[in-house]
Symmetry: C2
Subunit: 310 residues, 2 copies
């Protein structure tokens, strides 16, 4: 790659600059993928932080200012804001502009954003499977998307060149790109991400309600498995509220299946049916092996004494 | 410490030499805490592996052989085997010998082991809050207990010198020792360890039953939260079967609380009650902060892109 190579985009506008938006800003800059990176943040406090961090060239209060002359716009706010944002920025969008996002649900995003975009603007929704439990522009880092999947869910009839370009962008950020229908995305993520978060929030909440004498010891002896749940349950509350409000059917379906399966184990515990428990516990090892084989097991040392294995 | 110092124990016998037993052997040897370390393993294959690993001085087929002349005996097998083991080794136990264990439940252990021990033998049950999802003698390592809690649950009337000696032993292995009643232990561990494991086994099982078209993508996109559950659910099936069979009341009580709390969130998802979801999600952040403050958050980098935070 020569230094004089044209960047992939002239101007990228990031609408919202929290963990994901600020990581995109850092990664885009580091890899020279945009001539200019601008952001939009509603609160002055966030705008001040972002300018101090020096991760974008400019930051604006309103979306209509931020998207001026941008050839790529990425929505990085909670998905409940998308409809209003799309409406607000719509008058400033020129034909050929690509609009994308990073939301954790995809059917509702297409429903909310699509109708507001003028003809000739290409909408390619996306979802990087990357993140941490930390929030805000200070929490971002340039390597967040490295070696991670990014799912794109182009609506039927999406411009092929626009899809190719956004694919190139994510690959340049280090991600592996997968294309699927929004419906399939929402089903798969309901079980791999949304339900685990709902359960983690629940069990941490259950522990929070315990008698005070047990409360302190829950924190102290959390290494037995619980602390993994607390990490998941420390994720951004607004973002996750919006996920559940916008992927209701798939989440409720997976939750129903989970509850049935939990009842079976609960009954086995109550009646001392060890063979049912053992049989169920054996089966789940295979799926872990699949994840380890697929190199998605995470970067922590496999030997890390993290759960209570004795 | 001078080289000529007497080791804490003359002969330690480890009954069972899987992940925890073999880690104890390694750590005890490394820190010079025993004149001799012997083990007991029922299967010839395990005995061969253990001798090849060179982590003990001798390995026996039967507990009665292994405990000969031992001044510390630690049960490191699944808790369902304890009653038979205690009965089998009982004739070979001399007054003054300390018997301990590493089981994840404590009331049932006292019920199963206590009655079989001759007078003058000191029983001090223990539970190191340490482990990995891996099993077997090859999976152990000397640092497993370093910086981890070990809970001791001495029955009323336990010999003070024996309790002090076993406390010294665990501290020499790098652990922090906490003493509590077996009842309190079983309650606290039900929420911090047993319920998280039951839930993790359940959700990974639910995913295993999905339609084939979704199955592959569950593995592929597991980074969204699910893979943390798969790690927990890869733990030893026999050990965990025994935990649930032996801590039934506490597990069922915590499970009942969890199910009630999950129903509240499920209802909020169904009826689109965003304020209830957001409120609940906010509350759980505090308990995570408590864990981070207590330095029990684990050794992984807090920035590790491990769950789906966008």
């Amino acid at each position: 790659m020569s230094d004089t190579k044209e960047p992939l985009f002239n101007r990228i506008a990031l609408i919202g600059i929290g963990l994901i938006g600020s990581s995109l800003a850092r990664a885009t800059k580091q890899r020279g993928l945009a001539g200019e990176i601008v952001a939009c943040a509603r609160s002055k406090a966030t705008r001040d932080i972002v300018m101090e961090l020096g991760i974008v060239d400019a930051v604006y209060e309103t979306p209509v200012e931020a998207v001026q002359d941008a050839d790529l716009i990425i929505l990085c706010t909670p998905v409940s804001t998308y409809a209003d944002l799309a409406q607000a920025m719509s008058p400033a969008l020129k034909p050929g502009t690509i609009v994308s996002d990073v939301g954790s649900v995809k059917e509702s995003v297409i429903r909310d954003v699509g109708p507001h975009l003028p003809d000739g603007v290409h909408f390619v929704p996306g979802h990087p499977i990357a993140g941490t439990e930390h929030s805000g522009p200070e929490a971002g880092f340039a390597e967040l998307f490295d070696g991670r999947w990014c799912i794109l869910t182009p609506p039927v009839g999406t411009n092929a060149a626009a899809l190719a370009k956004i694919t190139t962008y994510w690959e340049a950020l280090g991600s592996m790109v997968e294309i699927m229908t929004p419906h399939h995305h929402d089903k798969v993520l309901a079980i791999t991400s949304h339900l685990p978060h709902l359960i983690a929030y629940t069990i941490v909440g259950t522990a929070t309600d315990l008698e005070e004498s047990q409360q302190a010891d829950v924190v102290k002896f959390s290494a037995g498995g619980f602390r993994d749940f607390t990490r998941i349950a420390a994720s951004d509350p607004i973002m996750w509220r919006d996920v559940f409000l916008n992927n209701r059917e798939a989440v409720l379906e997976m939750l129903q299946r989970f509850s049935e399966d939990l009842s079976v184990l609960q009954r086995a515990v109550r009646w001392g049916e060890g063979d049912i428990l053992e049989d169920r516990f054996r089966k789940t090892r295979d799926i872990r092996r699949g994840i380890v084989d697929a190199h998605q097991a995470g970067t922590f040392d496999a030997r890390e004494p993290d759960n209570d294995g004795n």
